[in-house]
């Protein structure tokens, strides 16, 4: 299981402060934070603790298995962000 950030993310980054395993990227200290459209959760590192979902001010984070229908694509979008990083 993992949590997933969906398209309504506003890059508030409060989730990066509460994540105990730093699996939400890009964090504000990273260069690409300035240009990223949204933040992403690495499904391989996420420990499913729900801290990010509780902290998110706009409820843009869901457990992967409870994603609203219109956001289901974001499970893959989150995972793909980290796959691309590994390649680059």
């Amino acid at each position: 299981m993992t949590y997933v950030i969906v398209g309504s993310c506003v890059n508030d980054a409060v989730c990066t402060e509460v994540c105990p395993v730093d699996c939400i990227q890009p964090a504000p200290e990273a260069g690409e934070f300035a240009t990223t459209e949204m933040l992403y959760i690495d499904p391989d590192v996420c420990i499913d603790c729900k801290a990010c979902a509780d902290a998110c001010p706009i409820n843009a984070i869901y457990p992967a298995e409870h994603l609203p229908d219109k956001w289901t694509a974001y499970r893959e979008i989150n995972a793909a962000f980290f796959r691309q990083r590994m390649r680059s």
Binding site: E17, P20, V21, I47, C49, K50
Partner: protein
């Protein structure tokens, strides 16, 4: 180069497995991660554990004994500190008797068995009955109920979460607390949600809307402090409808007498007391009683309510009469790896001592913090003149902190053992360095029996104590030796300790030195369930057996060898509550203050961690949005909250719903951390809401103050700005 050391976190009882990366010298932590190979707890981890090295490397950390000279502190050696403290304590004991020396200790000490045990050894050497502890602020109700029903003050029955099909959760917010109390269930909340997604029923009872209640199938909005009435109503409905079942796994005594009491209660009366309709009570009772498996789980919220001991007892009885006790999917007893009553008595030795002023007995061997200030301030034979405070902060954790602060200022001798100088140590004559759990080691002998599965993990030392710092237990032993009073009160033992220390100087014999390891080895060997070497061999922890049911019946310590369902003190107190008139609202103090926990905060000792709580490093007053509108308040406005014993100022924020008339303020905030090297310099975040709590009003059985049921008044601090209440919406 670096290496990984595996241990478990020791902030809360989730005991999350940790992978701690340290430098080669074993002096500094590089990073702390969750230990994904821990078979018990890897699913749980939070930022408190992740940032533990920040607290260990606290900028105000005390690394040498410090003696007060005027208004400042000067460093001293351990030898100087121990000699001076021993001489002054002996003088006070010879003049006024042993009870003139009091003690208080907090959770961080309790989390290390060796330190707790040798602390008890020192107190027995001193011979004082004036022992106080943090348990009287949260867990005493459970100790009273377990002693009365099971015959042992610690005989916890953790929730069998994975097989449970109906959860009735009371006085807890596990989405924040992770389900831990006197039951260790790693990932407990996550597993409850998984069970719910498989079809389990989830009923959350809480006067507030919380992250947990939002996940429930039913949220029961109860009147605060009336959990006992709610539980008694459920039991009454179940008994009247004939839905109760004979307990299969445990022998019981006194059920008929208890049912007689149930017969005396009136359902409509109970319903109006707890503010839950008869219809909803029936619905919950039926779902709970008819579920294939179910568990009623009650935690701290009840303990703080003034009626929590009766509530806790009724919670156990609800489980007993529906056959949930020591049954799959109900509440399961884990007998652990040692003889639990023995291990518990080493941490919390029983005592027949009664308090001088209120003539109250001890609970688990300790008196209530609610009595401490009076026992120091009131002159007469047996008055406390010296205190030893170990890893504790009772001015912030306990009731009416202003009065306790005044009391501590009048002591002849105050010795504080801790990693930093906190609010309660303000008047200390001696500050003795403490250790952080990253610097300690040990197998906790009492935790094995409150775990939900047969699991043992040796807490490995990750880094050395800061240079010059001795472990707490060494200080306790050294002090008893210097006072020439026998550790544990056993004549001759000090000689054994000295001999073992002399022998340990011989190369190869160091490991035989007297210390906590002696007790670990003896207790685990006598427990005959696991070998200590087998536990130590598995750094990620050892799941040494399969879960089994039925051990509770064999482990009961009551004279009847049965669970006592109708102990007279609980029956009497329940009848007293039934006969008491319903509490009336006090127009002068119209709100009820309750507590809550922040996930990134742990009682009174982590709020200063800069890597936690980055956005909101303070507590706030949370109120119902309509109550705020009535008072003309908006989110973020400053308010004064007052009770008959004190007042504090904080900003207000709108809650997410729930009952009106409730003011929620997290506890543990507002403790100053002093800089011992710069008199007058300190840091502090938030406000100590327990300054509003009266030390005179307590649950008569657990002696716990009403941390959750204090009546308060809320006033805007900007009266000129908005005189008339406005009707605009307040942002959530």
């Amino acid at each position: 180069m670096s290496k990984n050391i595996y241990t478990h976190c020791n902030y809360c009882v989730s005991l999350c497995g940790l992978e701690v990366e340290v430098d080669d010298a074993g002096e500094e932590v590089i990073e702390i991660r969750p230990d994904r190979e821990n078979p018990f707890s890897w699913v749980d981890f939070c930022r408190k554990g992740k940032t533990a090295a920040e607290i260990r490397n606290h900028p105000q950390r005390i690394t040498t004994p410090m003696r007060r000279v005027g208004d400042r502190y000067v460093p001293a050696s351990y030898e100087e500190a121990i000699a001076d403290i021993a001489q002054r304590l002996n003088r006070i004991i010879e003049r006024d008797g042993a009870d003139a020396v009091g003690s208080y200790h907090g959770n961080p000490l309790g989390h290390n068995f060796g330190d707790s045990n040798l602390h008890a050894g020192l107190l027995a050497a001193i011979g004082t009955g004036n022992r106080f502890w943090v348990g009287s602020l949260d867990q005493n109700s459970l100790h009273v109920v377990q002693e009365e029903m099971f015959g042992c003050e610690l005989m916890s029955v953790p929730t069998d979460v994975d097989d449970c099909e109906c959860f009735l959760l009371m006085g807890m917010d596990p989405a924040v607390s992770r389900f831990g109390w006197i039951e260790i269930i790693p990932g407990g909340w996550k597993r409850v949600l998984e069970a719910r997604d498989r079809g389990a029923d989830l009923i959350v009872v809480d006067p507030r809307v919380t992250s947990s209640s939002k996940e429930a199938r039913t949220h029961v909005l109860i009147e605060p402090g009336e959990d006992w009435a709610f539980l008694l109503a459920l039991i009454k409905i179940i008994v009247d409808e004939g839905w109760n079942r004979e307990p299969e796994a445990v022998p019981v005594n006194g059920l008929d007498a208890f049912f007689e009491l149930v017969g005396e209660a009136d359902l409509d009366d109970l319903s109006s007391r707890c503010g839950v309709s008869v219809e909803q009570l029936r619905d919950v009772a039926e779902r709970f009683a008819k579920a294939r498996t179910a568990a009623c789980v009650s935690h701290t919220g009840l303990a703080h309510s003034g009626t929590g001991t009766v509530g806790e007892w009724l919670s156990q009885l609800l489980n007993i009469i529906t056959n949930r006790m020591d049954m799959p999917g109900g509440k399961r007893y884990e007998r652990g790896y040692v003889d639990l009553p023995k291990a518990w008595s080493m941490m919390a030795p029983k005592s027949k001592h009664r308090s001088r002023l209120r003539n109250l007995p001890t609970v688990a061997g300790f008196h209530s913090v609610a009595e401490l200030a009076d026992e120091i301030l009131t002159p007469g034979a047996g008055q406390i003149r010296a205190m030893l405070i170990c890893s504790g902060n009772p001015v912030v954790s306990g009731p009416d902190g202003d009065r306790l602060d005044k009391a501590l200022s009048e002591l002849e001798l105050l010795v504080a053992v801790d990693i930093v100088q906190r609010e309660s140590h303000r008047h200390a004559h001696w500050l003795i360095p403490g250790t952080h759990w990253l610097e300690r080691e040990g197998l906790h002998l009492a935790f094995g029996s409150i775990m939900e599965k047969p699991f043992a993990q040796y807490g490995n030392r990750c880094v050395k104590p800061k240079a010059g710092v001795r472990e707490e237990w060494r200080f306790f032993v050294d002090l008893a030796l210097k006072m020439k009073r026998p550790l544990f009160g056993f004549r001759g033992i000090n000689g054994v300790v000295r001999l073992s220390r002399a022998l340990a100087k011989i190369p190869g014999l160091r490991k035989f030195e007297f210390g906590p390891a002696w007790f670990e080895w003896l207790m685990v060997a006598a427990g005959r369930r696991v070998k200590l070497s087998e536990v130590k061999r598995r750094p990620h922890g050892y799941m040494y057996d399969n879960k089994r049911y039925g051990d509770l019946a064999r482990s009961l310590r009551t004279t009847s060898k049965k669970i006592e369902c109708a102990p007279s003190i609980l029956m009497d107190e329940c009848r007293r509550l039934l006969a008491a008139p319903m509490p009336k609202m006090d127009p002068e103090f119209p709100f009820c203050m309750v507590s809550r926990r922040n996930r990134e905060s742990m009682n009174s000792w982590m709020n200063e961690n800069a890597r936690l709580l980055q956005q909101q490093r303070s507590n706030q007053v949370e109120m119902h949005v309509e109550d705020m509108t009535d008072l003309g308040l908006e989110d973020g406005d400053p308010v004064r909250v007052s009770s008959p014993v004190g007042s504090i100022e904080l900003t207000v924020t709108a809650g997410t719903g729930g009952r009106r008339g409730i003011v929620t303020i997290p506890h543990g905030w507002g403790s100053r951390i002093f800089d011992v090297n710069a008199p007058g310099r300190y840091s502090r975040w938030g406000e100590n809401r327990n300054r509003l709590v009266d030390g005179q009003r307590i649950d008569p059985l657990s002696q716990t103050p009403l941390l959750n049921m204090t009546r308060v008044r809320v006033e805007s601090l900007e009266p000129a700005a908005r005189q008339a209440p406005t009707r605009r919406a307040v942002g959530q």
